[in-house]
């Protein structure tokens, strides 16, 4: 165990902070502090490209694919400084955190050449086509069909909850390629270009009025026969590999964003006097402890390079942060009192906190619900008997 950072790491931190702050004070000042995923999407695509052009997009990737080969500590530092500087979330989150690492792990050389530099350069924005109306928690029951026709896949079906599909260039799709197959067998992991007649995207409005996610319809949508990761019929394994990246380094950046949110709540509590209320003080203290726990947990998880064993910490991370943030949202509302009801007006001092509350309602749902996470912890982590699982 080595805590703290070396001198050269601290130098790297200063370099990151200088560069990020300069961008947020200069050319990209207009996107600083945005907390929603959809606001100023076009400018944020330009930001992706700007990051790429300066080599700050995917610093953990090997140099040959547009990264810097940064160490884990450096990635942590960059993620921290990114959030500290008030830079908005990455609109190509799915490309950099999920598609890219999956291609690095399982893609062919040709595919890496084809996609990785463009993802790193912010030119290829990816979205995730896993969930369907009938396949949410039960992802293995997907019904979207893919069949080979000559040298092309032809896809029919529907995905749902596809975050940012409306601003994406590519979508990866888990589709049933083996007629009559059930459950995790017979699935193939395809990568498809979105701008084609066979794909239609319709926005779904979410509770805060924003439309971050979409329905994605496939009606004779096409992609080349080799636009798949892994083998035909091996899509489930690829999908699971991809999901394992959801708990990667990005979680550390996320924690820095959480830090900003908690600080906002503390500032509100001080300003409106609730900071003198013992109940609120204790909840703030608990939120602080929770944040530290997550930080140490994530650092330990990331330091562990042996992925052959089931990692108990990795299994618990999703439910931990999701529940923490859901509670944080409620704390924000309790601190604000009736002011928590007032949203949407930028002049209103704490306007971002009710929005944080609304956003945090989804944390315990996406990326595996709390119930599914508990099942995984109990079944995979503790070896307890399995839940009934339909015909899958």
């Amino acid at each position: 165990m080595r805590l703290g950072f070396t001198q050269s790491e601290e130098q790297f931190r200063a370099e990151c902070a200088d560069w990020l702050n300069a961008q947020m004070a200069g050319e990209f000042a207009d996107i600083r502090g945005i907390t929603t995923l959809t606001e100023k999407a076009e400018r944020r695509k330009e930001w992706e490209q700007h990051l790429g052009a300066h080599g700050w997009s995917c610093i953990g990737w090997p140099k040959e694919w547009g990264g810097r080969g940064a160490t884990l500590a450096e990635q942590v530092i960059f993620a921290e400084e990114y959030a500290r500087a008030g830079v908005p979330g990455r609109v190509n989150h799915i490309g950099i955190e999920l598609a890219g690492p999956t291609l690095l792990a399982l893609g062919t050389e040709e595919q890496k050449r084809r996609f990785l530099p463009d993802i790193a350069a912010g030119k290829t924005i990816f979205c995730q086509g896993f969930s369907e109306p009938g396949a949410g928690s039960d992802l293995a029951s997907v019904r979207t069909k893919a069949r080979l026709e000559g040298n092309e896949w032809v896809v029919e079906g529907q995905k749902i909850w596809t975050s940012l599909a409306h601003i994406s260039d590519w979508i990866f799709v888990v589709a049933r390629s083996e007629e009559g197959s059930k459950g995790p067998k017979g699935l193939t992991f395809l990568m498809m270009e979105i701008d084609q007649p066979g794909i239609e995207i319709r926005p779904i409005k979410q509770i805060n009025g924003d439309a971050e996610f979409n329905e994605t319809f496939f009606d004779g949508a096409r992609c080349p026969a080799d636009s798949l990761i892994g083998a035909v019929g091996d899509g489930w394994r690829v999908a699971m590999t991809l999901l394992s990246f959801e708990r990667g380094v990005s979680t550390l950046g996320q924690q820095m964003a959480f830090r900003n949110e908690l600080d906002g709540i503390i500032a509100a509590a001080k300003a409106n006097g609730t900071a003198s209320d013992p109940l609120i003080r204790q909840r703030i203290a608990r939120a602080e402890i929770g944040l530290q726990l997550m930080r140490y947990g994530a650092m330990r998880m990331l330091s562990n390079t042996d992925h052959s064993k089931v990692d108990g910490a990795a299994l618990t991370y999703k439910i931990q942060w999701a529940t923490w943030r859901r509670n944080l949202g409620e704390l924000a509302m309790d601190v604000l009192g009736q002011a928590g009801e007032v949203t949407g007006s930028p002049e209103y001092e704490w306007g971002m906190l009710p929005n944080l509350f609304l956003y945090s309602r989804a944390d315990t749902i996406y990326g595996g619900t709390n119930q599914i996470q508990r099942n995984l912890i109990a079944e995979r982590g503790l070896g307890m008997p399995r839940e009934p699982r339909g015909d899958a």
């Binding site: 039960d138 779904i204 604000l336 009736q338 009801e341 119930q371 839940e387």
Partner: protein, 310 residues
């Protein structure tokens, strides 16, 4: 001692429930959300039921009923996420005016021609007031800035908190119903998700929270009506228990709905947002818990076995 509510008092509330479930379904909420939020025809329906005059003394043209009756009906208003400002005008402002001996507006309020938006300084804003509009988390609440002459009267606060608690109970009941129904029709892994114990226990916990909130609410309404010295503590207890139940109901209902519950297209959000708004109105949980602990620990609230059920 009798903790049951007399059946004849429940009859009116049941009639109101029937009326509202027939005239104020989710399609009405969607229509109001798409349009101007308020509908004179809906208001007129409430007037014709006599609800605007429920607490107005008979000599001023009302029904002269009590706070328990009003709380029972406020709960029904919560159940349908009623948008019209009936509760605050007729069940909060009216008894406050009556207590102050200010009877000048009562007849017009009873006839539905006048609505009062009670403004209390503890609230940062007023619902359906005259000031500048503010955006509420609840698309059907018309929130406005607090007027300079807002009151800081203790009775007004208690009335507001009591009626918010009553609506919160109704909101929680409605969210629980919606979650139970959804859990029966949504299948995953080849079975209704309501068949998973994780989901059953979640919703059972909401039922428990509600079961404990309801008697506290009725107790508070009766205490305030009787004007007993400890009424404010009972009201605080009701506001805390009802807010707990409603927040838990919202959290559980959205969870059971999965991503569907996070959309604007599923009606659940109307109920959740009203609950989140009313949870902070008329004193947050922190405010009311402080009132309870101040009364119980070294305060005037009598404790000890002989007082447990007082």
């Amino acid at each position: 001692m009798d903790m049951l509510i007399a059946p004849e008092r429940l009859e009116l509330a049941e009639a109101v429930r029937d009326f509202l479930s027939g005239t104020h379904g989710p399609e009405v909420l969607r229509r109001l959300d798409a349009g101007p939020n308020r509908d004179p025809a809906l208001w007129q329906g409430l007037v014709e039921m006599g609800l605007t005059g429920l607490l107005v003394p008979e000599e001023h043209g009302g029904l002269g009923m009590g706070l328990l009756d009003a709380a029972l009906i406020a709960r029904e208003c919560g159940r349908v996420a009623l948008a019209e400002p009936l509760v605050e005008s007729a069940f909060v402002a009216v008894p406050w005016l009556v207590a102050q001996g200010d009877t000048s507006d009562l007849a017009t309020i009873a006839r539905g021609e006048r609505r009062i938006a009670p403004a209390h300084r503890l609230n940062g804003a007023v619902a359906d007031g005259e000031g500048a509009a503010l955006d509420s988390i609840d698309p059907l609440r018309r929130l406005t800035t607090l007027p300079a002459d807002a009151s800081d009267d203790a009775l007004l606060l208690d009335l507001g908190a009591l009626m918010a608690a009553a609506q919160l109970v109704g909101l929680a009941e409605a969210m629980l119903d919606q979650a139970v129904e959804y859990s029966k029709i949504r299948t995953q892994f080849g079975q209704p998700v309501g068949g998973f114990q994780a989901i059953k226990h979640k919703l059972a916990d909401v039922a428990v929270a509600l079961e404990f909130a309801r008697p506290v609410l009725w107790r508070a309404a009766q205490a305030l009506d009787d004007g007993i010295a400890s009424a404010a503590v009972h009201v605080s207890h009701a506001k805390v228990a009802a807010t707990d139940a409603a927040y838990l109901a919202a959290e559980s209902a959205i969870q059971v709905h999965g991503a569907m519950g996070y959309t604007y297209e599923v009606d659940l959000h109307f109920w959740m947002k009203r609950a989140w708004a009313l949870g902070g109105a008329w004193g947050s949980r922190a405010f009311h818990l402080n009132r309870i602990d101040a009364a119980v620990i070294g305060g005037p609230h009598p404790i000890g076995p002989e007082n447990t059920f007082a």
